[in-house]
Symmetry: C2
Amino acid sequence: MHEEHLAINRRLAAQLRVDSIRCSTSAGSGHPTSSLSAADLMAVLLTGHLRYNWDQPDSPVNDHLIFSKGHASPLLYSMYRAVGVVDEDELINTYRRLGARLAGHPTPTIPWVDVATGSLGQGLPDAVGIALAGKYLDKLPFHVWVLCGDSETAEGSIWEALDKASYYQLGNLTAIVDINRLGQRGPTELQWDVQRYVARVEAFGARAIVIDGHDLAAIDTALRQARSDTDTPTVILARTIKAKGVTELEDKNGWHGLALPPEMAERAISALGGPTHLVIKTLSPTQGHAVPAIKANPGAAVVLPSYELGEKVATRVAFGAAIAALAARPEVVVLDGEVGNSTHAEEFAKVCPERYFEMFIAEQQLVASAVGFAVRGYVPFASTFAVFFSRAFDFIRMAGISQVNIRLVGSHAGVEIGEDGPSQMALEDLAALRAVYGSVILYPADATCAAKLTLTMADTEGIVYLRTTRGAYPVIYPAAEAFPVGGSKLHRAGPEDQVALIGAGVTLHECLSAAEELAKLGIMARVIDAYSVKPIDRAALIEACNVTGSRLVVVEDHYPEGGLGSAVLEALADAPVPALRIAHLAVRGLPTSGKPSELLDAAGISSRHIVTAARELAGRGHSDD
Amino acid sequence: MHEEHLAINRRLAAQLRVDSIRCSTSAGSGHPTSSLSAADLMAVLLTGHLRYNWDQPDSPVNDHLIFSKGHASPLLYSMYRAVGVVDEDELINTYRRLGARLAGHPTPTIPWVDVATGSLGQGLPDAVGIALAGKYLDKLPFHVWVLCGDSETAEGSIWEALDKASYYQLGNLTAIVDINRLGQRGPTELQWDVQRYVARVEAFGARAIVIDGHDLAAIDTALRQARSDTDTPTVILARTIKAKGVTELEDKNGWHGLALPPEMAERAISALGGPTHLVIKTLSPTQGHAVPAIKANPGAAVVLPSYELGEKVATRVAFGAAIAALAARPEVVVLDGEVGNSTHAEEFAKVCPERYFEMFIAEQQLVASAVGFAVRGYVPFASTFAVFFSRAFDFIRMAGISQVNIRLVGSHAGVEIGEDGPSQMALEDLAALRAVYGSVILYPADATCAAKLTLTMADTEGIVYLRTTRGAYPVIYPAAEAFPVGGSKLHRAGPEDQVALIGAGVTLHECLSAAEELAKLGIMARVIDAYSVKPIDRAALIEACNVTGSRLVVVEDHYPEGGLGSAVLEALADAPVPALRIAHLAVRGLPTSGKPSELLDAAGISSRHIVTAARELAGRGHSDD
C-alpha cells in the first residue's frame, strides 16, 4: 500500500472511530467499543475494495456489505457519513432516536442495508443466499462482504453458512471476523487463539487468512486476496483489540454495550485528532456485466395443474405440481431442506434444476438462503416439514424485520402425519408463524386450493407460509375456483344454520363429514374453509355468528394456543356479534404414533367429535333461546 | 476381540437387523435401512461397553444411550428386545401403533429413553447437558453414548454441541456417527469423505476415531478407546453401508423412510439367518461411586429478596437476586447465553460458580444443556434475552415432547427495551411458547412478583418461561403477596366497574396509570394483572366480564397474534359471559429505536391509549345499554 493511500486510510479509520464515539455518546447508548475494533478493517474495505454506487443502492452490480455483528452500527453509519450519504446531523442527532432510520441495529429501512441484523449469526447465512444468487443466477461479479463478530462464531448457524458456502464454491463471499477477544460479559470461548479459528474455517472448506486487524497494509492485501478467488469462500481472521484507539478502554472487559460518557468521549475524540470530514469516493461497481443473467418475468404464463372433483390428492403433491409449473417464471427459486421427495419440492428440480438449491438438513441456512435470494429480487420458496421451520424461527422473525418477501412451504403438519410420531408433527407452527411481523398464513384443504395458493404466494409480499398435508383427501373445488388471500370458502350455508363449523386443511374434511352427519340429525351446519388463516376472513366469521347466534365449532390439527382458534377469536374480539359459544377442538394431549385417522380421532378433532360438539351447541341453543 | 465374543456380536447384529426389519415391515413404515447401517455398532456397544442396569433405568450410575438419529428406532427397540426388557410381541405388534410406547421416534414414555429425538441434531446437544451434569455435578463415572446420523452433521447445533463438549472437556461423551452416505432424498454433503469429518471434529476439539462401522473388532477397540479418555470428547466416525445386510438394498438410494415389503423382508430375514432370540447380559454400571456428589434438597430454605413498595426495580434484577437465593437448593443449575450481566443470571454465578455454566452465544445448546441437566434430575434455569429463545424454538418444542422440566428466563421483552431496536425485542415469544406442549408462561409486573415466581418456577413442572422487563418500575406488591401459577391480581375492583384493563409485565403499569386517569374522568376501571399468562386465571376474567358487560381492554407488549390477547380470548371462548367488547392494544407496526416510554406510546400500548380505548368501550356501553 502506498504511503498516500495508507495515510488516507489512517485518517478515515480515525474519523470512523471518532464518529462511532460521537453518535453513540450523543445517543447515550450503543456499542462503540465493538465498532472501534473493526474501524481499520472497514476503512480499508471502503477505500479500496467495496465496489458500490451509493446513489443507486438497487443497482444489481453493487457489492453487498452486511454487518453480521449488527451492534457495530455506529461504525456502519459512520461509513455512510464518510461516503457522503448520511450527513453529520443525521448521524449524531438521530442515531437510536424514535422513528429514525439509523436504528440501534441496522434494518433495510436504510437503503444500503440488505437485511436486518442484531440477532447474531444471521448476517453470514443471509450473505450465503446473496452469493448463491450472484454466482449461479445473476452471474454478476459483485462480491459479498460480511463483517462478523468473534462471539457469534459460537452460533451453529455460522457453520451451516460456511459449510454451504464451500459446498457451493462461493468465491464471491468474504467473511471478515473481528476477533476482539471480548464478548458482552467477558472473554469469548477462543479469545485470540486464532489458529483454532483457522482450523475450523479450513475444515469447513473456506480459505482462512490471518491478519492483524489494525495493520492497514495487511488488511489491504487480505481483502485483495479474498476477491481474487473464484471458487473458495474466504474468511479473514483479523486479530483486533476491542475499543482500539481509546487507550483507557482498549481490551478492557465491561464496556461492551456502553456509550462513552461525554467527558471520556471528549478525551478520546481529541486523542484521535478530533472530528473530521473526510469524504471517500468508493470504487465503482465492476463494469462489463451490468445485467443479471436472469430477467424476471412475473407475467409469464403459469399453467397450474388441475384436478377432478372427488379425486384424492395430497396438498403437498399439488404444491409440487404447482411449483414445477412456476418454473415458467425465471425469478422463482426453490430451496430444499433434504426432504424434497416428501414436500414434493423436487418436482421443481425435475424441470428446473438450475434454480433448485439443496440446503441439506440445515433449516436455519434454508431460510437464510431464501432471504438472500429475496434480497437479490428473486421469488424464493423454501420448503421442509412444517415442524422444522421451528428450527429457523429466529431467522423467520428477523426476515419479518427485514421486510423481505419469502415463501415457506411446510408439509406433514399436525397429527395427520401418523406413524412418525410427535417429533415430526407441526402443532405449534400456526401460533409461531402468525406472530411473525408481516406474515401471511395459508392452509389449503384440497389440491385445487393448494395449487392456486402456490401461485398466489409468488405474488404476495411478506413472510408467506403454506401449510400442506401429508395424506390424500378428495378434491372439493373446481379448477376455476379463486382463493384470494384473506378469503374463505363457504359450504352448505343457509339462513337457518344453527351452527358453523370452521376448519382448515385436513380438518375441513372432517367438518364437511360432520355437517353431512348433522344434516341427517336435522341440524343445519354451515362449514367455513379458513384456508387463509392470516389474514382471516372476518366478514365471513361475523356473518356466521349473526346467523348461528355465534355458535361456532373451530377445529384444528394444532395445539389449542395461538392457532386457527385464536385467529377466529382475535377477529371476533370486538365484532358486533352475539355472545360467543365456541367449541374449540384442538390437539390437547401429547400424540403418539398411529394411523392418521386414528390420531385425528384420538385428538378429538375428527368428524364424530365435531358432531358431538355441534349438537351440544345447537341443543344448548334450543333450550336457551 | 476373542472369537467367541466376535461370534456373539455377529449373532446379535444379525438379530438386531432381523428384528429391525420385522417390526418395521409389520408396521408398514419406519426406517429399517438406517437401522441396518448401525446394527454392528450397536451390537458391540451392547455386548461390551454400555453399562446399564435395565431393571433400574433411574439408577444414577447407568450409562446413557441416546439415538440422536431417532428414526433408527427399529434398531433401538430391537436392542431393548435383545436385553430382555421388550418382548417379541410388543416389538413386532405394537411398533408405531396408536398409543404404543414404541413410537416412530423414541420418546421418554419408554423408561430407557432420556429425551425425545426425531428432530435431527438434538440428541448430541442434549447429551452434552447430561455429560456436563455427570462430570461437574454428579461426579459419577457414567458415560454418555450418542448414535448420530451423518446427515444431521449439517445442523449447526451439532457443532455448537461439539464446541461445548470440548470447551468443558467432556471425556465422558462419545458420539458415534453412522456415516452411511445416504440421506432421505440422496447422498449426503460429504458422503464417505471421512477425512473431512475428521478435520471438522478435530477442529472443534474432539478426538476423531475412524473405523469401518461393520468391522466388529475395530468397533470394539474404538469404543474402548472412547471410554478411556477423561478430558476429550470422542467422535467415532464409522463408515457404514445403508441397509447393510440386505444385499438388494445396500447403499441404494430411495429406501430411506420405507419399510421392506413383506416378500422382500422375508427374503432378507432368511438371508440373515432368520429370527433368533439371543438375550444379552449387558455390563453392570461402574461400581464404586453409586451416589451423585450433589444431593437435591428441594426443602432447603430460600430467602428471597424483598422490596419496598414504590421502589423502582427491574424484574430482571429481581430475578437475579432470587436466582442467587435459589443457590441454597443444591439441585438448581443456571445456564447463561453470554448475557448474564443483562439477564442478571450472573448473580447466581457470584454465589455459586460451580453450578453456573456459560454456554456463550449458542442458544440451541443453551436449551439442550438445560434438557440434559433436567434428565439428570437437576432444576435448570436457562436465561438469555427473551427474543433469542426463538433461536432454540425447535429445542423447546422437543423438550415439551420429552416432558422434561426446564425453566427459561427471557429478559428484555417487547418494545420496552428501547434503543436497541426490533431485532432485540421479543414480540412473538408469548405466542410461540404458549403453543409448546406443557408450557407455563409467567410475566411479572414487579420485583416482588418476579422474585416469588422465580422460586415457584423451581417447583413447577413443564417448560416454564419467565418473561422479564429491562426497565425499572415501581414495586406494587408487598413481600407477603403470593403468586400461584394460574392466578392473577385484581386492582381497584368494585361491583360498579365499567371496564376491566388487563395487562401483564410492563403494560400492567400502564393499565394502573390509565385506571387512575379514568377514575378522574368518572369511569370505574378494574385492573387485572395477568402475571400467569398460561394457565390464565379464567375465573377472574369471567368475573370481570360479568361485572363490566365484557368490556375489556387487553394490553400487551407483543404482536397482536397469539399472546396475552389470545390467551384471554381462548379462556372466554365458551364462557357464559355477555357478548365480548374487547379492545386489544398490541404492537401492530414494526418498531424503531427510541426511549422505552416513547416506544410504548408509539406502539399504542401506553396509558393514554388505554384511557382512550376504555372511554370508548364505556361510552359505547352507555349508548348501547
